[in-house]
């Protein structure tokens, strides 16, 4: 005698992204803290020394925030116009910032007034940075020049006038005090040596360059411009290594995370993408509310700071280990392991007589009803609030099972207003779900057949039926649109696939038929 076979609940493929180690890691952040700034946030820079404050450049000021404060710990407001590119020196003591009025200002982090003002550029300065020895400043400006300044004397050391468009990004080498790279809207990246008067290397990015990033080893350079992120091998003389096109708007910012294991890129398309730096594949994606202009990542990925065009600064802090454990612990609160194994791991001794107890088959509530052929009750159980809200696939599986048994009509018939309301509610919620549609459409037809005579007697049911009608009309419209798109795609594919003549066996006279090409379509995945 076989035992009762429970209803099979179909397992549907999980929609959305696959859960990997990276998703778990990058999802492990708290809800973002949002701070409103006065204007678009153009630059975020983390202080290299603990406690890793970060400088946020927005509109005419530079704010310095502590790692956990929502209020700025320090503000520099002595700019005449929009400030740009507030950056810390490697010791975290000095901060440099450019300005729309072409003056570069150097601040002491603890002071308020500018220590030095570097005047010489004729247009807005968007790029400022310290060299690795900390005594010189690199600036790049919209007047197509980049300059080196001496901090103690506030004098200009050198001017390079090789770019032919705005210089909007630049980076200095952390290992060599004389090397720096600038990127410009003339699509080029140029590497300069302060000991020479001209650039030593030029690379063509192909698009206006928005941001530059050097790997800690400084063998690889990453540039962002247009929709592309490109990686260059400096040791091979600036050979392009990888070109990535994962954003659909201009990439504005780059950052390295996880000790150089991951690369982050932010774009005007409101996404931050995380790449694996070994294979340059996207492993994670963050969504933000507005176009992103600047991105900062604290050491050890402790926090992600993103500045957007609408002036909102979003700070996400990593969850502490206890917190992340707590959340996972809550999900797993079920009867403890000890309850299940109680007495079961007892090993009988040699002389023991073993009395085996018949194992009782555990059945779900709806299965118990199905076993007794109580079809209406089985459907009622499957339509319980929790099941129909949280696990619609179970409800659908029970409906399918009833249909298979040929008793769905009996189960649907004879319902009062309340239960019919629930049934229709469930249909409205799930009818257009492609996973459930084949089953639920027949159910809906049956319901309409059965309850046709009572239409107009209950306002509640009538309202639901109208909603159902609405839903179906909308769905039909969607389907029409989709079919149109499909037709367009088909014609495009057909024209893009090269026509190929198939060798035809024309040798024997009888094999006259069979010329033509095979229509092959792309493989499609349907496995569950």
């Amino acid at each position: 005698m076989a035992s009762f076979k429970p209803t099979k609940i179909q397992v549907y493929p999980k929609l959305g992204e696959k859960v990997t180690q990276d998703t778990l890691y990058w999802k492990n952040y708290k809800a973002p803290v949002q701070i409103k700034e006065f204007g678009a946030i153009t630059n975020i820079d983390f202080s290299p020394v603990a406690p890793h404050n970060f400088a946020v450049t927005a509109f005419t000021r530079v704010h310095i925030y502590g790692p956990f404060s929502q209020e700025p710990v320090k503000t520099f407001t002595r700019f005449k116009d929009t400030a740009y590119s507030g950056r810390f020196r490697s010791d975290g003591q000095l901060l440099v910032a450019g300005c729309e009025d072409s003056v570069v200002r150097l601040f002491d982090v603890s002071g308020k007034v500018a220590l030095r003002m570097f005047k010489g550029h004729t247009k807005a300065v968007h790029v400022t940075d310290f060299t690795s020895d900390g005594y010189q400043i690199l600036t790049g400006s919209d007047d197509y020049t980049c300059r080196l300044w001496d901090i103690p004397n506030a004098t200009e050391l050198n001017t390079y006038q090789e770019h032919t468009d705005y210089i909007r990004c630049g980076v200095t080498s952390k290992l060599n005090r004389d090397l720096f790279i600038t990127g410009s809207y003339d699509h080029t990246l140029k590497m300069f040596d302060a000991r020479l008067d001209k650039s030593v290397m030029t690379m063509d990015h192909g698009h206006p360059v928005e941001n530059l990033l050097l790997y800690p080893s400084e063998g690889l350079l990453v540039s962002a411009g247009g929709r592309y992120v490109k990686v260059w091998d400096l040791l091979k003389g600036g050979q392009p290594l990888v070109s990535m096109k994962n954003h659909h708007k201009t990439v504005t910012c780059l950052s390295l995370g996880s000790n150089g294991q991951r690369l982050l890129s932010a774009s005007l398309d409101r996404h931050v993408k995380v790449y694996n730096t070994t294979n340059y594949k996207v492993v994670h994606n963050f969504d933000y509310a507005a176009s992103i202009l600047s991105l900062g990542l604290a050491p050890d990925d402790e926090s992600i700071v993103v500045g957007m065009t609408n002036g909102i600064l979003s700070v996400k802090h990593r969850k502490s280990p206890e917190e992340s454990k707590e959340t996972s612990g809550q999900q797993r609160r079920k009867p403890s392991y000890r309850v299940f194994v109680k007495g079961k791991n007892y090993v009988p001794k040699q002389d023991d007589y073993l009395v085996s107890k018949p194992v009782k088959q555990h059945l779900a509530k709806y299965d118990k009803q199905l076993k007794r052929f109580n079809v209406s009750k089985a459907l009622d159980t499957a339509l319980e609030t929790w099941l129909r809200r949280r696990k619609p696939e179970i409800t659908v599986a029970v409906i399918k099972e009833l249909d298979r048994r040929g008793t769905l009509k009996n189960a649907l018939a004879g319902r009062d207003e309340q239960s019919l309301f629930h049934l229709l509610n469930f249909l409205i919620g799930n009818l257009v779900d492609p996973r459930f549609a084949p089953v639920l459409v027949t159910t809906a037809e049956m319901i309409l057949d059965i309850y046709r005579s009572v239409i107009g007697q209950s306002p509640v049911v009538d309202r639901q039926l109208l909603r159902l009608q609405d839903l179906l009309e909308r769905e039909i419209d969607y389907q029409k649109d989709l079919l149109e798109v499909l037709g367009m795609l088909d014609t495009m594919f057909a024209s893009s696939i090269p026509r190929k003549e198939v060798p035809c066996s024309g040798i024997s006279r009888s094999n006259g038929l069979g010329q033509g090409e095979a229509s092959t379509s792309r493989p499609q995945l349907q496995a569950t």
């Binding site: 005698m1 076989a2 076979k5 198939v502 066996s505 033509g516 095979a518 229509s519 493989p523 569950t528």
Partner: protein
């Protein structure tokens, strides 16, 4: 045309064992089942078939135990004879010739020397009018007796044996047919008839289906088409009869049975639930649900401890009286049709085909036994007629037997076809198939063909399915390792192909797995499996391709196909041209996986012919006209366990493999050669019982294996079997001594085992030497025999016997003395036992 010398078509897989109700012997040890042309005797404790009672020449239609001698049984058959058997030994005692086909047989203890048979007396006038006839069996010493004393008891009875039953130890007989219940009282010599209305309210069908009589009370229980059970009382008066109705079954009650004490009534039907009603308290009932298939017959053992139910899936279930299933005897399940092909499980070498609804059955051909059923659908089966269920329509094994693919399908009126493609992986631990991937709706329409890639390297397993939606899809196991450890590799779609929106019919992989041929109506497309490029098309208009088959081994350059307009074509793939074609109406074409041979079954005037050929040779290797009547749609080549050494050209194709096929009537047939039959006969022939030996445990141990005295080819062919020492004095003495005076078995065991061994300590070395010589001689003879094909057999047989006789006493004689000593010893041992 090649003449077929000694190749015969034989039945395999046994017949139905659920055709008539099983009969239990009085000691509940054996179960007698009518099965085709023989009666099978099963042991109730081991569920093995003990022996077949063979002798009838037509379908056996009934078996009963002889009321006066519970060790004998009558059987009746459509060949018009009643035979009396000794079923413990399997001996035919007598044959009574009646002359008319018999439909059922009944007997009761109060009518000695009389059996009641249902037969059509007026065969010339109305063959459908059946009569219950009392046959007085003449007492005569002859084997074959003609029974002439016939007297009609009731006319117009049902052919169903369940509709006629004796009541209260033979006081009356009740018979039901249509809407009439007829009771014949032997004492009054009077028959009463009771009629039911054709349909009462709600259009219920009142037709009788079965009858059972209470063993102690005057009560008749009748089962009806609409699921009701009526209990009739007071039927010995015409007017004052009463009946009460019990209703639980939703469809026809197929069988009813009272327990011997009359306390319970058992009923069963299509619901496959055994219902036990308490007699006189009918509201108390117990159920035994989910017995697997519709119950056709119910029987209770004479002591009431065991119930036997036979089911429509060729199964007999043994149930203890506490309603607990204790065992099942399962035969080959034969449905109305086999939708899956016949297949071979490469691991167990068993035949795989549709079994119970939603299952695949694995049937061992060597042991002629059902191994197990694989539940493919995994859903609760609802036993209700007219319900569309999921059915397994396609299945395929890969070459190594690691993967099994199944397709299940449910067609509903006015709805889309529901399809599921399931892939099963063989699990070494549980030794069965475990579900790996379920693909729901793999295609939009029915799947017409499915096959695995034959390539021997296990790296890429590929499955191709063709469907009526105009596509064929290639499925592949995901090679990439998943990041999570708990996720096993699963199958996914690799490629979707189509050709001019034609419907693909069959698909076939070449032997090395590099090419895939898919037939799209009249066009055969050949694809490269590596790049999924369409390489070439072949066609033979105007009719669609029916079968496709790549050649094997040396003929792997050929692709064979059959078309609807009676053409068998062979294309050469190197030149992409038609090599040859011939006109024959091929219904089935298949290739032998281990040789170049191909078999084609052709329809010819209502029967089927078989041709076996090599694609490279114009002459067929073998052909046989009229293999069986009707169409053959399923067949398979299976590799043999041991090769046959036949040198005749016409039977060489059977040397390494066997061909099984299913006829239209779902009979499993195969071809055997004479050599093979001889070998089978030799090994299966039972011993003639030696009456001088008492029935002791030792006898049972030895008796089964004793060799025949009549010399035949057995010792020559199976030389590895050592002749058993049954003929020796010592063993005889051992067997005849009463058990209670023998020494302990552990003492005797070592001696006994030693006697079975080919003794090394045997002092007479020269005897052994001669034995060896003889062995080598035999081998020589064997090789000679190959060339002369069986002409030397008579000469060889005495030689073999000589070897057996000389070897056996020589081994045991040395121990006669020892045994004598033991016999002296035993008294003291016995005394010691008494003292303790």
């Amino acid at each position: 045309m090649v003449e077929h010398g000694d190749i015969r078509v034989v039945h395999r897989g046994g017949s139905k064992i659920n055709f008539r109700e099983p009969v239990i012997t009085n000691d509940s040890k054996f179960l007698l089942c009518a099965s085709g042309e023989c009666v099978k005797v099963f042991s109730t404790s081991t569920e093995e078939c003990v022996h077949d009672l063979r002798g009838h020449t037509d379908l056996v239609t009934g078996v009963i135990i002889k009321p006066s001698n519970h060790l004998q049984a009558y059987s009746c058959s459509a060949d018009g004879t009643v035979r009396l058997w000794d079923f413990t030994d399997g001996i035919l005692i007598k044959t009574y010739v009646i002359g008319h086909p018999i439909y059922s047989i009944h007997a009761s203890a109060s009518h000695e020397g009389v059996v009641f048979v249902v037969t059509s007396m007026h065969a010339d006038k109305r063959p459908d009018l059946l009569q219950l006839v009392a046959v007085h069996l003449p007492r005569s010493g002859d084997q074959m007796v003609e029974a002439r004393e016939l007297s009609a008891v009731l006319s117009d009875v049902s052919s169903n044996p369940l509709a006629i039953v004796f009541g209260r130890g033979g006081e009356y007989i009740a018979s039901a047919k249509g809407l009439k219940l007829e009771v014949y009282l032997f004492r009054k010599q009077k028959a009463y008839s009771f009629f039911l209305k054709e349909d009462n309210k709600k259009g219920r069908r009142n037709t009788f289906t079965c009858v059972a009589c209470h063993p102690k009370d005057d009560c008749i229980a009748t089962g009806h088409e609409d699921g009701k059970i009526r209990l009739w009382r007071n039927f010995n008066q015409k007017k004052e009869y009463t009946y009460s109705t019990l209703h639980w079954h939703h469809s026809a009650v197929s069988s009813l049975c009272f327990t011997p004490e009359g306390t319970n009534l058992l009923s069963g039907g299509i619901e496959s639930v055994l219902v036990q009603w308490r007699y006189n308290q009918e509201d108390q009932r117990e159920f035994l649900p989910r017995l697997g298939a519709a119950i056709t017959h119910i029987t209770v053992s004479p002591d009431g401890s065991l119930f036997f139910t036979s089911h429509s899936d060729n199964k007999i279930t043994i149930i203890q009286s506490c309603l607990k299933v204790s065992a099942a005897i399962q035969g080959l399940v034969k449905g109305e049709s086999v939708t899956t092909d016949l297949m071979m499980d490469p691991r167990s070498k068993s035949l795989v085909l549709n079994g119970k609804p939603g299952h695949l059955q694995f049937y061992s051909l060597q042991r002629d036994k059902l191994l197990y059923n694989l539940d493919v659908v995994q859903q609760e089966y609802i036993h209700e007629s007219g319900l569309q269920q999921f059915e397994v329509v396609k299945a395929a094994f890969d070459t190594s037997g690691n993967w099994l693919a199944t397709v299940e399908e449910r067609k509903q009126k006015g709805a889309e076809v529901e399809l599921n493609l399931k892939l099963w992986e063989f699990d070494e631990q549980t030794q069965s198939f475990v579900l790996n991937t379920t693909i729901s709706a793999p295609h939009e329409a029915q799947i017409t063909g499915m096959c695995f890639c034959h390539s021997t390297d296990n790296q890429t397993t590929m499955l191709v399915s063709t469907s009526k939606d105009g596509h064929f899809k290639a499925w592949q196991l995901d090679a990439q390792a998943h990041t999570e450890a708990d996720e096993r590799p699963s199958w996914s779609c690799d490629f979707v192909g189509a050709y001019h929106s034609l419907v693909p019919e069959c698909c076939c992989f070449s032997a090395d797995g590099s090419l895939l041929a898919v037939s799209f109506q009249e066009v055969v497309t050949v694809w490269s499996t590596a790049s999924w490029e369409l390489l070439t098309t072949l066609s033979q208009p105007p009719k669609a391709i029916r079968n496709l088959c790549f050649g094997r081994l040396s003929c792997s350059k050929y692709l064979l196909g059959t078309t609807g307009n009676n053409l068998l074509c062979c294309w050469n793939l190197l030149t992409c041209s038609l090599e040859w074609s011939t006109s024959m109406d091929v219904s089935l074409l298949l290739a032998d996986p281990i040789s170049e041979n191909m078999a084609a079954f052709c329809r010819q005037a209502g029967s089927t012919d078989l041709f076996v050929f090599k694609p490279s040779e114009p002459r067929p290797l073998f052909s046989q006209k009229a293999v069986c009547p009707g169409k053959v749609t399923r067949a398979i080549f299976t590799p043999r366990e041991e090769m046959l050494e036949s040198c005749e050209e016409s039977s060489q194709w059977l040397n390494r493999s066997q061909l099984y096929f299913l006829t239209q009537h779902m009979d499993l047939m195969t071809f055997t050669t004479k050599v093979e039959e001889d070998r089978l006969m030799a090994s299966s022939k039972q011993l003639v019982i030696d009456d001088t030996v008492a029935m002791t445990p030792f006898y049972l141990l030895l008796g089964k294996h004793r060799q025949q005295d009549s010399g035949d080819a057995q010792s020559g062919i199976s030389a590895e079997r050592t002749p058993l020492p049954q003929g020796s004095v010592a063993i005889k003495e051992l067997l005849q001594t009463p058990a209670h005076v023998l020494p302990s078995t552990s003492f005797l065991c070592s001696m006994f085992v030693q006697s079975l061994l080919i003794s090394v300590t045997d002092p007479r070395e020269e005897n052994k030497a001669t034995e060896e010589e003889m062995e080598s001689e035999k081998e020589e003879e064997d090789s000679e025999e190959e060339m002369e094909s069986g002409t030397t057999r008579p000469e060889q047989a005495p030689l073999g016997r000589h070897a057996a006789e000389s070897a056996a006493p020589a081994l045991t004689k040395a121990q006669v003395r020892e045994l004598r000593r033991v016999k002296k010893l035993d008294r003291s041992w016995f005394a010691g036992l008494l003292d303790s």
